[in-house]
Amino acid sequence: MRLAAAPAADVRLPAWRARVLVALFAAALAVLLGRAAYLQGMKHEFLQAKGESRYSRVIEIPANRGRILDRNGEALAVSTPVKSIWAIPDEVRLDGAQAEALAKLLGVPARELRKRLEDTERDFVYLKRQVAPEVADRVAELRIPGVFQSREYRRYYPGGEVMAHVLGFTGVDEVGQEGIELAFQGELAGRPGSRRVIKDRMGRIVEDVESIRAAQEGRDVVLALDSRIQHLAFQHLRDAVAQHRARAGGIVVLDAATGELLALANLPTYNPNNRAQLAGAQLRNRAVTDAFEPGSTLKPFTVALALDTGRVRPDSTIQTAPGSLTIGPATIRDAHPAGALTVRQVIQKSSNVGSAKIALGMPAETMWALFDDLGFGAPPRTGFPGEASGKLRPAKTWRPVEQATMSYGHGISVSLVQLARAYTVFARDGELVPVSLVRLASPPPARRVLSSGTAREVRAMLEMAVQPGGTAPRAQIMGYRVAGKTGTAHKQENGGYAPNKYISSFVGFAPVSHPRLVIAVMLDEPSAGEYYGGAVAAPVFSQVMAGALRLLGVPPDAPMTPIELPAPGAEVKESV
């Protein structure tokens, strides 16, 4: 009862106890202050690094892919904006009518759509990629929660199947897979940039911290291609392939002065904008990737070498009777035995025996050296992917009969591009120019292969070959002097020659007085009856050359008189 008797406050509530508690609180708050200062003033770098590892991300800024343009600036390949429609299944709320409308717009079966949206395990599903912007707008109008769109690009090729092999195509992620798209991937793609950003826990960007590297847009690539000539070449080749029921065909148009590739087409082809069903055969850029035995189109080179080395003159006589030549176990034949022919006539009539006899008068090494100079047996290095180098065996391994057959284009193989380029030697007075896929500001340095005199002499012979009395009168063009050579070769099959399968070709240039274009045409297995190069390939050359010269405004160098064709049955058939 001591306390009750002594009601003094400081006895019952000792002041020192309150002071102890106040001191404890002061100490506790001081600890907090110290801890805060330590965390915020000393350890902040460590803590910030920890934080950055959790929400700082480097994101890629895509670079727009460059366009592919033809030499006149026409767009051949462009990236068009498209939308991809995607959804967060857990957030999607849609009624039956909306589901039906969405399925209809996207062209996806409603059942399939529902299946994807029911997969609530996933945070993200594509409903449809690469949708046209108009369709995407209509999807947006449905205002379905949880359905989103993102911007993407899709490569579009206005030229479609006409340029398919030249341009190639890209994959869904816009990486070149074939053709120019692959060859110039580095230039076209540009370099994606990157930025450091801070993302919230849902992955949304909330802060743009810094640019690490600016995106470098892809550059436009300006091709040497002239899309007008390309269309022309494609159409006539397509018509010829259809008419002669050929298995395949190819055409190459070169600028004789610069080596620029003005057109290149192959059949069969494909639509690069819709590659749903693509077969290997359609994809092949035959003119570049396939080598074939060219046949008689090589004869002019044999003759040129003999002229250049002084072994024959244009009017030297070669005895081709009796129309066959036996070398060891093998016999070379002419289709129409012709007796004694001048060197000019060997080209004009395309005599195998004449050509073989001229070749056998020269060392193998010399012939090999010329073929090598012309670029046979090595890839032409145009930049196209998968270039064929063709077959050219070393001279040491040549047997005489092989040297003889090579003189008229057997036992050796070339691609159509190689063949067209080799003919620039005749079109430009003995010099060879490299083939260029891109437009050039000035002609590239050329390499002399033959003397200009020889080249001019052979040019004259090649002009004779397309006139009545030659093998390709149907290569003629009204108003222009034309020169060229047919080729008709048995196809190789199972190590031998197939008796009735042919590759028909024609290589030529015009106008002869000042050659502007070199065109090489090839049809694989024409099977509608005719198979001679002069009947199958030469007309394609003529049509394309005539159209192209007019398009380019090349002045005529011949009188505008109707061209002369030999009477039916009187055509000169070349030896096969």
Partner: protein, 386 residues
């Protein structure tokens, strides 16, 4: 005589303006920071309807209601509080029991802490904190004559506190248990409890605490997470590691109001238990120091007000004032310590600031009572009836 000792020369203010302003400042800062911390969460969550002001609007409403409640509480004389103390305590115990009844108590994240009314949820443990202060103070004053007696003085109140603790742990609400136990012990200590017994009790409490932690694996986990949050930064240490990152990002003056990254769904409970981390990130050490300082001032004023009441012979009022100071101080310290990784993580809000209607209401009423104690003391000092 005592009144003359304390009488200032200048005319005495009607109430403790510094205390009132500190509380208003904390509550206002709390409102702003709750809004800032909750925008991202409110926009992303479905139950908020995607409205960014969902939590702001509710918190503002809670504050308004609490202000009215505080003004009403201020009108109640301390004598009335003392008479009501046992009944308030009984009511609190009843609510704590009610919350455990399935169908009445609402369970969130494995804890049954709320009683759902149609407009709002009531958290009985927040009111229990106030009731415990009032009841323990009343008990200490009533039984002051027998406080030296173990059987008649100390044991009954300890039994009552243990019973309340058992109810709280059944929810479970470990944080409230710690705050209520610490506050009750402090009031007993201040009330002149026998020093040796007190020391013995502290030892017992420490032992009990260790046993409790060992008995509940999830608390052990929490303690391990607190020791080294980086060891399991994406598991147990996730919450704390993000709170610490927020402190580190804030540096001295913060990244700026609204610019916190941690609140963007990285830091869980940013608007409730971890509000200080968002303050640390957005306002920096300056903001944290201001909060610590304001809490320190409130606690200090509570003890001064209590001391003055004691000198005036108003023992119940004195113990209530210091009890309230202890409550706010302990809870504030634990919350801030948890945010900084000084203490193990437990579910305690920052008084006056964190989002939560019951907590704000209880805190505001407590402050009103504190101001009432001061006001009555001043009235007495002027020779007016309290």
């Amino acid at each position: 005589m005592l009144g003359r000792v304390e009488a200032p020369r200048a005319p005495l203010a009607e109430y403790d303006q510094g205390l009132a302003w500190s509380a208003i400042l904390l509550a206002t800062l709390g409102l702003v920071m709750v809004y800032s911390a909750s925008i991202a969460m409110a926009e992303g969550a479905r139950h908020t309807g995607g409205s960014p002001t969902y939590f702001l609007a509710r918190h503002a409403l809670f504050l308004a209601v609490s202000l009215v409640a505080a003004m009403l509480a201020f009108q109640v004389p301390m004598r009335a509080w003392q008479r009501a103390a046992p009944w308030l305590f009984v009511a609190g115990v009843a609510l704590l029991a009610l919350v455990l009844v399935p169908g009445i108590g609402r369970e969130v994240n494995g804890a049954r802490r709320w009683i759902s009314f149609y407009v709002a949820n009531l958290q009985p443990s927040e009111f229990m904190k106030l009731a415990a202060v009032l009841y323990t103070a009343d008990y200490t004053v009533r039984k002051s004559a027998v406080m030296d007696s173990l059987g008649r003085g100390l044991a009954p109140i300890l039994a009552v506190i243990l019973a309340v603790g058992w109810l709280l742990l059944a929810e479970p609400d470990f944080g409230a248990f710690v705050v209520i136990s610490a506050t009750a012990m402090a009031i007993l200590f201040l009330g002149g409890m026998n020093g040796r017994w007190f020391a013995g009790l502290i030892g017992l409490a420490a032992l009990g605490f260790v046993a409790l932690v060992l008995a509940s694996p999830y608390r052990v986990q929490r303690i391990f997470g607190f020791m080294d949050p980086w060891a399991d930064a994406f598991g147990k240490g996730y919450q704390l590691s993000h709170a610490l990152i927020a402190f580190g990002r804030g540096e001295w003056f913060g990244v700026g109001l609204g610019a916190s990254v941690e609140k963007l769904l990285y830091l869980p409970e940013a608007h409730t238990d971890f509000l200080l981390a968002v303050i640390a990130e957005e306002l920096g050490f300056a903001g944290v120091a201001a909060v610590i300082g304001l809490f320190g001032w409130i606690v200090f004023r509570a003890f001064v007000i209590g001391r003055q009441a004691a000198l005036a012979g108003r023992h119940f009022a004195a113990l209530v004032a210091q009890g309230i100071g202890t409550w706010l101080g302990v809870q504030g310290f634990i919350n801030m310590g948890v945010n900084m990784g000084v203490l193990p993580t437990k579910g305690l809000t920052l008084p006056l600031m964190s989002f939560g209607g019951s907590g704000i209401l209880a805190n505001c009423v407590a402050l009103a009572i504190l101001l009432r104690v001061d006001w009555e003391t001043r009235q007495l000092a002027r020779g007016l009836p309290a």
